[in-house]
């Protein structure tokens, strides 16, 4: 089990135990974390699972894929340098303790 921390815009933190192999988006939905929609279910179609990876984790999480870049461009909240689509981040043991920030809006 890998711990993932979601930080809402008001600063409140939700820590959940994630299943390795799941995406950070799926983990949020499975644990009832508000602020992630995931409308397309992880098909990289909708940009409603936008998260801003904490600076300290950005390198470990890795860069965006091509298509992800394009979708983030269309996200409801202006993407920041470490913005990712959380459906594209796979939970794995090295990410234990990962901190992601939620954007103001997903739609």
């Amino acid at each position: 089990m890998t711990k993932i921390v979601y930080v809402a815009t008001d600063g409140s933190r939700t820590e959940v135990e994630a299943r390795d192999g799941d995406s950070v988006m799926r983990t949020a939905l499975a644990n009832d974390v508000e602020g992630i929609v995931g409308e397309c279910g992880g098909s990289m179609m909708c940009a409603t699972c936008h998260v801003i990876v904490d600076e300290a984790w950005a390198e470990k999480v890795g860069p965006r894929s091509d298509g992800e870049e394009d979708l983030l461009d269309g996200a409801a909240t202006e993407p920041r340098p470490t913005s990712r689509l959380s459906c594209q981040i796979t939970v794995r043991p090295e990410l234990d303790g990962l901190v992601v920030h939620l954007p103001e809006a997903q739609m």
């Binding site: 939905l29 009832d32 409308e39 279910g41 394009d70 909240t77 954007p103």
Partner: protein, 420 residues
Amino acid sequence: MQNQRIVIVGAGHAAVQLVASLRQEGHAGEILLVGDEPGLPYQRPPLSKGFMKDGDADRLALRPASFYEKNAITRLDGVRVTAVDRAERVLTTADGERIGYDQLVLATGARNVRPPIEGADHASVVELRTLAHAEDIRKRLARARRAIVVGGGFIGLEFAAMAEAAGVATVVLEAGARLMARAVSPAISERFLSLHRAAGTTIRLDAAAARIEAPGGGAPDRVTLADGEVLEGDVVLVATGVRPNVELAQAAGLAVDNGIVVDGQLATADPAISAIGDCASVPGPLGTHMRLESVQAATDQARHLARRLQHGASEAFEAVPWFWSDQGDAKLQIAGLTTAADAWQPVGEDVVIGLRSGRLISVETINQPGPHMAARKLLAAAEPVSAAELAAADWDLRALAKERQGAAGPARPEAARTAP
């Protein structure tokens, strides 16, 4: 409408979004979600995509059980509603239970059509709409070497791509002249025809199935074509489209015309009854009623209805339709109403722009999320996009979307840039 009791029939994509949005909008009254399928409401799109591969049903739940508890949603699963008494505002279930409502929402979705092909309703001919179907298909596929798909639409083709990739030799029979003809442009049909053929799938166009035999007990299934040719397979999937579940509404005397007819507020003629999702026929942008079968339509309608039920009527429902279909490595994305186009402009191999009366109405893309997102923005704009404007931008949707955004000033509030 604060303390009204809202009852939703059907527990699919539309219903689950509706209950979430109702609570978000501040509805404090009782909410009952009544669905006839067992277990937690789940996502359907993966059934013909990732689920075929991994078989992981846990990943499909739309929301965890805790969501319904936390939001005080009473969830009745495995319960079928059989009648609506509009005068008394009471539902009857298959078990004879009676459930009263102040507001009723029909989100009953759709079911597969059984085409007029002899034997298509045989028990061992498979179909795909529910998790139960998908689990059955996975079991059958594990033992199959050859599959036959009747119907070259989205679901048949998504299934074929998964089956072929899993090493099952797959034949798709399409009665019409091209693939996905109800929903995509001819150029896209053509592209997918070559993609599937390149992946090894056999695609037969103008191939009408006349009879299906599925004897079971180890004997192969057989599909006889209209011209007498016989094909053999280990599993036959019939995927020839859906029909909306309108019977409850019809029996209750509500208007039905390819779906439960609603107005721009998603209400039926009975102010206490609304309908959303695959089962609803909704006024569309072209001045006619339309029934869309997509997650986007289901969830956008749910959000609109939640606002109306909580805060009263406002502007009519309007949303840019979008849809996707993953077939092998090709991700097809559709924005707008492809079928309403009267002209198509291909841009390279992977983008097709649809026009209606010289205005942008749809964009189909393959593995091109950037142009797809740009298309959604352009289609949502108050000012329609003309063919001339597109031509002036060299048919570059992203460039045009940026240009228009620049002209209109930043679309997003400055504050968004500094947080969190």
